[in-house]
Subunit: 118 residues, 2 copies
DNA sequence: TTGTATAGGTACCTTTAAGTAACTATTGGA
DNA sequence: TCCAATAGTTACTTAAAGGTACCTATACAA
């Protein structure tokens, strides 16, 4: 968890320091639809390696954004979920999703002709 | 500008691929309040080096998010501004700013006591 | 003639992030 | 007895990002 003196003065910078990373944003996207197991996250986030996924999950756990629940089973089962704090990030991811949709639509229109030649 | 085939299927990923970077987000924050000169951006974004600022500005220009206007003056004057597309990113930065404010308030309360001992 | 201001470019080096592969633990089942 | 399954860890390597310092152009002012 970040401490008071580490807080940047600018709120945007504060937010960026917690979720500016590509992988964290995608982890957030996954967990917004509910609790997920480690393997589900790895499958859901294309291109992420086990190491990097673990690293980012730990970091987000430290930041209090996500929670981790280990079940005493074999083979192991570990579930990740958003904390209350993590859930408050939802509007940011929603805004990103919405913008991405608009952008995709724009690109699909603007180079329809170029792409048609593929 | 991104081409159709480079578009990720996920809208969040599309957005992240354009602005996931810390510096780009901060450049965006600066330009949301209006046109800025290079030097103003460098001063407004604490910790950014000239090289990195230039690199990110070029990349954002290529992505069609910002524009660049060079005045034929000496010493040179170059202004950066958001394009129409860039302006559509405003809700994302706004959401980040709002979240950051809430988070700062939370941290300021939760470790009031620890911090009091400084 | 020399310095100043602005917006870079470039070369070189360091730091950080990420990829890859191999290894661990445990237990139920073939 | 040995393999499969899950969620990791660790060591080693490569790629990307960033830092630092120094260089450029040019018109004006001292």
């Amino acid at each position: 968890m970040i401490t008071k003196k580490e807080l940047s003065l600018c709120p945007v910078e504060t937010t960026v320091s917690l979720i500016s990373n590509k992988w964290k944003t995608l982890i957030l996207r996954e967990l917004l639809s509910g609790t997920k197991r480690f393997g589900e996250l790895r499958n859901g986030i294309s291109g992420v390696s086990q190491k990097v996924l673990t690293q980012n999950l730990r970091s987000m756990e430290d930041d209090g954004i996500i929670g981790r629940k280990v079940y005493a089973e074999v083979p192991p089962r570990v579930e990740y979920f958003l904390t209350d704090l993590g859930n408050t990030l939802r509007p940011i991811i929603d805004a990103m999703a919405e913008w991405g949709l608009g952008y995709q639509a724009m690109v699909n229109n603007s180079n329809e002709t170029n792409v048609a030649s593929r």
